[in-house]
């Protein structure tokens, strides 16, 4: 009997060892010299600043070795939280959900200062002229938490009921709307918007802020906060090199678009789209009031993330809905940006 117990014990010990090895991830694991940056999608103009910094040697100048991790199906904030990347591209909403649930992620830079998406319907839909008309229609969505609630709010602000059918399609969402299988989706104005024009399926858009919905940072750069705390100096050098890249992209969109194309050979079938997209972002979305890129404000965090909280969408680390509104100033930091 004792021999058998010994064997069971051996199995347990072995299993624990294997589990530890599998999940063993100290913050900022991997090669100590490399900073890993996780992408949220295939390369596009939301990433231009990163590739500018890489192509123009800003990272090298700062003495940093940066590895760009390609897009996969895991949420970027999960990758960062697990210590498998130091930085990554996230969205205002995703960043909020991650931190509320106890993730060690922190927003350090906002490449886009405003909603860069709109509610998209085909331009030839005479029956849909305003958000109110979306009641009873079919939404092709992405399975993002909070997406449906935001749409409902916009529709209600326009006098509708907010009752529509929602289908989660992910990458097939746009095709579903172009082909008429679904009625509306959410498009990046500076990417799918231009793409739709080029493909002969022009769309029209309703902008959230035109219908009483608070503004948001369409894209944020999230970091692993444990890594930031452990190496604040390298963190600041990285964020500032990245900020410099995005600033260049906002000031000289054509050269930046070319950098993006050069860094990703074969990724873009439609290079004209890249230039048009980067120009649109530079003109409308990237610069703050003072012309700088990257800074964030507590007010904008409180407005958009506060909406998620009020709708009861945020759950804490224990799995229960948040009982009190978080202090939104702890959800982002401008400390690593270059001083104006």
């Amino acid at each position: 009997m004792s021999a058998r117990r010994g064997r069971v014990l051996a199995v347990v010990v072995a299993a624990v060892a294997v589990l530890s090895a599998l999940t063993g991830c100290d913050a900022g694991g991997g090669d100590d010299r490399t900073i890993r940056f996780a992408l949220d999608w295939t390369p596009n103009t939301n990433h231009t600043g990163l590739f500018v910094a890489q192509q123009r040697g800003y990272f090298a100048e700062a003495g940093l070795d940066v590895e760009i991790l390609p897009y996969n199906n895991t949420a970027v904030d999960t990758v960062i939280d697990a210590g498998n990347a130091e930085f990554g591209v996230s969205t205002h909403n995703s960043s909020t959900f991650s931190r509320a649930s106890g993730g060690h992620t922190l927003s350090v830079l906002a490449p886009l200062q405003r909603w860069a998406t709109g509610i998209g319907v085909k331009a030839d839909r005479a029956d849909i002229t305003r958000p109110k008309d979306l009641d009873g229609k079919t939404y092709a969505g992405f399975g993002d938490p909070g997406e449906v609630e935001a749409l409902q709010q916009v529709i209600r602000n326009d006098g509708g009921t907010g009752d529509f059918e929602s289908v989660t399609l992910g990458t097939s969402a746009y095709e579903a709307v172009y082909s008429g299988r679904a009625d509306f989706t959410v498009s990046y104005l500076a990417w799918e918007g231009i793409e739709a024009e080029h493909n002969g399926t022009p769309m029209k858009y309703f902008r959230y802020t035109d219908f009483g919905f608070p503004d948001s940072y369409a894209i944020v750069i999230d970091a692993n906060e444990d890594w930031l705390a452990a190496d604040p100096d390298r963190a600041a050098r990285f964020v500032q090199a990245l900020q410099r890249g995005y600033q260049f992209a906002a000031d000289d969109p054509d050269a930046a678009a070319q950098d993006l194309i050069d860094a990703n050979p074969g990724a873009f079938n439609d290079e004209k789209l890249v230039f048009e997209s980067q120009r649109m972002l530079a003109e409308q979305f990237m610069k703050g009031p003072d012309g700088r890129v990257g800074a964030q404000t507590r007010e904008q965090w409180a407005a958009n993330s506060g909406f998620l909280y009020e709708k009861g969408l945020l759950t804490g680390p224990d799995g229960a809905p948040l009982a009190q509104e978080p202090d939104w100033s702890t959800y982002f930091t401008d400390d690593y940006l270059s001083s104006p």
């Binding site: 347990v12 624990v16 959900f97 649930s101 060690h104 989660t168 095709e175």
Partner: protein, 286 residues
Amino acid sequence: MTTSPPRSGSVLDNPRRTEPDPGAETGSGRSVRIGRVIPSVVTVAVLVAVWQAYVEISGIRPQLLPSPSRVVGQGWAHRDEIAVHAAATLQVTLTGFAVSLSLAWLLAVVVDFSPWLRRAFVPLFVASQTLPIIAIAPLMVIWFGFGLLPKVLVVALVTFFPMAIGLIEGFAAADREAGALLRSMGASRGQVFRYVRLPSALPRFFTALRIGITYAVVGAVFAEYVGAREGLGIYMSLQKNSFRTDLVLAAVLVTALISIALYLLTFAIERVVAPWARAENRSRRG
């Protein structure tokens, strides 16, 4: 044909005359010997205990690795929501599997009667298995919308092959001498099929059915992941994006339980439909 070695279709035996076989039950119903399930229960219990202990000792955060108790607890707390999605997945699974099953039977019988059609179809069956579902499934959504049809097709595509091949080979493996004996007594090709080839194919068919049904649930979940209104696949995707690893795993657990339940159901069906097949599958398993 006097002795009945394994894999003789035992047509000429009385199919009902299966000797009781103490201690060698394969599952289902009242005859399960407690002794047979103990090893698997112990294994699962040890794995779960190790997992729970690891989470508690290491203090790893639940977003990265929730403990089993949290997965079950949160899953239970969200049971109403999960049940709705599970019902949708079950509907897709069973509809898709029914289509696949009917097609597999139809084509396997046709192929058994015509060598020409066998040569025409079997390569196509094999080819159906080489399609990367991950590339085909999104296209199906674009072609057929996001109702039941594209998901049923994905499930059928995933499960059809093992069942069709199992049946075709089962028919072919029938005892030649038994067939010849019946022919010499003036039986038609159809009668030989009915009395020799069909019964002897059933053991292999049930093996194939078990493989197919376990694929079916996973196929349904994957099909939903690509595009659906509801279902466990959609639920997992939504919870993943909400950083609720515990609820993702709760949905995984429900998926596994549905698969296991359907798997066990095949034994119950086998007992009713083809009692001789159980003895034969057992003897083949040794």
